[in-house]
């Protein structure tokens, strides 16, 4: 039984989700994760953010079996 996965959200993504951390049951890959999140939080659709699995950026679909943490990282423009 895989352990739970923590999703850390930042900036506008955290605002859309309503909190900066949520826990999910095991998810097989990043594509599945995004699908789950976008279904729960439709405002994420069309939002630009990078995705890091255990602190490493991923650019294509990647397995997250066994990973502990996924971060959803949007760009900030303010200064």
């Amino acid at each position: 039984m895989a352990e739970k996965l923590i999703i850390k959200a930042f900036g506008m993504v955290a605002e859309e989700i309503g909190q900066s951390e949520i826990w999910l049951d095991s998810v097989s890959d990043t594509q599945e994760l995004l699908a789950i999140l976008k279904e729960r939080y439709p405002g994420l659709e069309g939002m630009k953010f990078s995705l890091a699995v255990d602190k490493e950026l991923v650019s294509e679909n990647q397995k997250i079996d066994g990973a502990r943490e996924v971060a959803l990282l949007p760009p900030f423009s303010g200064g």
Partner: protein, 354 residues
């Protein structure tokens, strides 16, 4: 005893570090919430030459966070006020002012005169422009950005195999998608904290005082003080998006890149059902096209778009060569954020012949 005594006695800095600071030349882009603390601390630390870039004037709503300025400065150029204040405080700094905004046409000339660049700007077009120029010129770039109560800090282009902003966020997001401080609100202390971290990184890079945030990004939350460190790796796909040469970069429209406007070919537009066509050429420009559901609004009449109505959610915009239609689409998107505007590549010159 001199004004640097308290830092020179730091073992990691020493007189050598102080000499490095005095010999350094740093370009600070943006004199807003981040720029104010950065300038204060770098000037206090004894950085020998500082260039100040900002085309903006001080406004009353800046004063909660831009602590160099006061009520008596409202309406003055930020570069003027900042350079006056700093040169009055310290006689040993050489300040250069650039009272304008960076563009693809002027960025190389300004940036190439400095050893290190600091991005304290407040918009994506300039952030991507500064990133791309620093990448091409191999200039170390201290990066920082804020959103509500959070901040990001990193150092780019520091030696071989060093990452840059595109490795973190390859494509510019739409400016409409990510609001800035003026739209979302910010406590003045947040840019104070993040700007101070950026000044710290700058001193690290110049003196080697400690290891800078190279190939790492710090995400900082001022509400909880939580920190998240991300490791960066060079991303070949993202790097392909950076123009290859100065000449190529100078042709780019960064405002457009960050507008979220798509570009499509005539073929793509013509096969889409239920679209609206918009010709933004002036009335004398020929040939006219015979398209279904076409309206004409010359760019010269864009000052008043209040009467305009579109009968489709998807509007394909064209001009003679595909340049003006990009600018038109950006303006229209600001006015009608719910509609999708697509600029036709090549304009009427590229219209299929048969």
């Amino acid at each position: 005893m001199d004004r640097f005594e308290r830092q020179v006695i730091l073992r990691e800095l020493g007189p050598e570090g102080q000499t490095k600071l005095q010999n350094a030349s740093v370009l600070l882009i943006g004199l807003g919430g981040l720029g104010c603390p950065i300038l204060n601390y770098l000037a206090a630390a004894g950085v020998g030459k500082i260039g100040l870039v900002d085309g903006d004037l001080v406004s009353i709503s800046n004063l909660n966070r831009q602590t160099l300025y006061g009520e008596n400065h409202v309406g003055e150029l930020k570069t003027d006020v900042a350079s006056r204040i700093i040169s009055k405080k310290y006689s040993d700094i050489k300040l250069e002012v650039y009272p304008f905004f960076l563009t693809p046409k002027n960025a190389f000339e300004v940036i190439s005169q400095y050893d290190l660049v600091i991005d304290g700007t407040d918009n994506f077009p300039t952030r991507y422009l500064v990133n791309d120029v620093c990448f091409l010129l191999h200039k170390p770039l201290v990066f920082g950005a804020i959103f509500r109560h959070e901040g990001q800090v990193s150092v780019f282009d520091l030696g071989e195999n060093s990452c840059n902003y595109r490795d973190l966020f390859p494509d510019p997001p739409s400016s409409l998608e990510v609001p800035n401080c003026s739209e979302t609100g910010v406590l003045g202390v947040l840019p104070g904290l993040i700007g101070t971290l950026m000044a710290t990184e700058t001193i690290k890079v110049i003196t080697g005082y400690a290891e800078a945030l190279r190939n790492r990004v710090l995400f900082f939350d001022s509400k909880t003080y939580q920190q998240y460190f991300l490791d960066l790796k060079p991303n070949a796909v993202a790097r392909n998006l950076i123009p290859k040469t100065q000449k190529e970069l100078e042709q780019l429209d960064y405002e457009f890149l960050c507008s979220g406007i798509q570009i499509a070919s005539w073929e793509e537009g013509l096969k889409s059902p239920k679209v609206q066509w918009l010709d933004v050429r002036e009335s004398h420009e020929m040939p006219k096209l015979n398209l279904e559901n076409l309206i004409e609004i010359p760019i010269s009449e864009f000052y008043d778009l209040n009467q305009v109505q579109f009968n489709s959610d998807q509007v394909f915009v064209y001009c003679q060569s595909g340049i003006r239609s990009q600018k038109a689409a950006v303006k229209l998107k600001e006015k009608f954020p719910q509609k999708e505007f697509i600029s036709i590549r090549g304009g009427v010159n590229a219209y299929p012949k048969n």
